[in-house]
């Protein structure tokens, strides 16, 4: 580290601004106290009867605030769409981060189905233990990253299947909401049988929503990682 630095005006001004913000926030903090009934306490008391799901965060994400999750899935789709505009599929693509190691190849081939199984386990048990669609989807995408690192150019992803999975997951989410309108009267209501707390097949429509979200996030993060690892390298000409 270089200890002798000249302090620039911009740095000084931003430091002053941040310390002012901190002192203001400490002042606000000193006046807020006490316990008050929040929306979360009310939702916790409703959680056992309306959704028999053991994970209250899952029931908030998919049922009580399901429309926000639909918006988040849309934002994710739009960002990957923006990244996907720059993908060129016509030329031969070179994997830029690739280790030519026999031990890694064997190990990755053994570990790839295990990691995908673990990802599906996290997705399916989203309403029973910490986990859910987002976490499990990214774990599944990391299995594909392992295959890119181990096999390099020889590993070919089927883009048609990825596109189909992503599209039908998104459509499936909206269709579940419309099913809620048909059977329950409200968009994204919970019309399916609820079951008992702690069972795998409980919670009505909650695990199915998280399954669609998990598959969509897995497909999108896989396409994203493949764009960055395999774009046409300028050195190859």
């Amino acid at each position: 580290m270089n200890l002798k630095k000249t302090i620039r005006l911009k740095t000084l001004l931003s430091t002053l601004m941040v310390s002012f913000l901190t002192i203001t926030l400490l002042g606000i903090l000193a006046q807020v106290s006490g316990e008050h009934a929040t929306l979360g306490n009310r939702l916790l008391s409703l959680n056992h009867n309306l959704t028999q799901s053991a994970n209250a965060v899952t029931s908030v994400v998919t049922y009580f605030r399901g429309l926000d999750t639909l918006g988040e899935v849309t934002i994710l789709f739009l960002s990957i769409f923006g990244v996907g505009i720059g993908i060129n599929r016509s030329e031969h693509l070179h994997t830029i981060l690739h280790y030519d190691n026999a031990l890694l190849k064997m190990g990755a081939r053994v570990l790839f189905p295990v990691i995908i199984l673990f990802g599906f386990y996290i997705i399916f048990h989203g309403h029973l233990s910490p986990g859910g669609g987002f976490q499990g989807g990214v774990v599944i995408a990391s299995a594909f990253l392992l295959m890119f690192l181990a096999e390099g150019d020889a590993y070919a992803l089927d883009h048609k299947i990825l596109t189909l999975v992503e599209a039908f997951s998104g459509v499936g989410f909206v269709l579940l909401g419309l099913l809620g309108v048909l059977l329950g009267g409200l968009f994204l209501s919970n019309p399916l049988p609820l079951g008992t707390l702690g069972q795998l097949f409980s919670g009505g429509v909650l695990p199915i929503i998280y399954l669609f979200v998990g598959l969509k996030v897995a497909a999108e993060i896989t396409v994203l990682i493949e764009y960055f690892i395999r774009t046409h390298d300028a050195r190859d000409a």
């Binding site: 830029i96 996290i122 910490p130 986990g131 976490q135 990253l145 990682i225 960055f228 390298d233």
Partner: protein, 82 residues
Amino acid sequence: MIGLVILGTFLMLIVVAYMVVSDEFLAGSVVYFMAFGLGSTVLYVIFSAPDVALTEAVIGAGVSGVVFLVSLLQTQTREDEG
């Protein structure tokens, strides 16, 4: 006890954040960023938020760092000059 642990972890995170911004070797900055994500995961577990901890562990300390490193490799950038 909990207060001391939280204070110590925050002090460590402040030091790691300073190293992220001030390191000139860009790959080192990304590794410090992934260490920050790991420290954040520990803090989320202390704050009784296991779902957020899982998400931060997989995304913040996983995919985010990998995307940074691979894009550094694509543009063949090494140092932050100045």
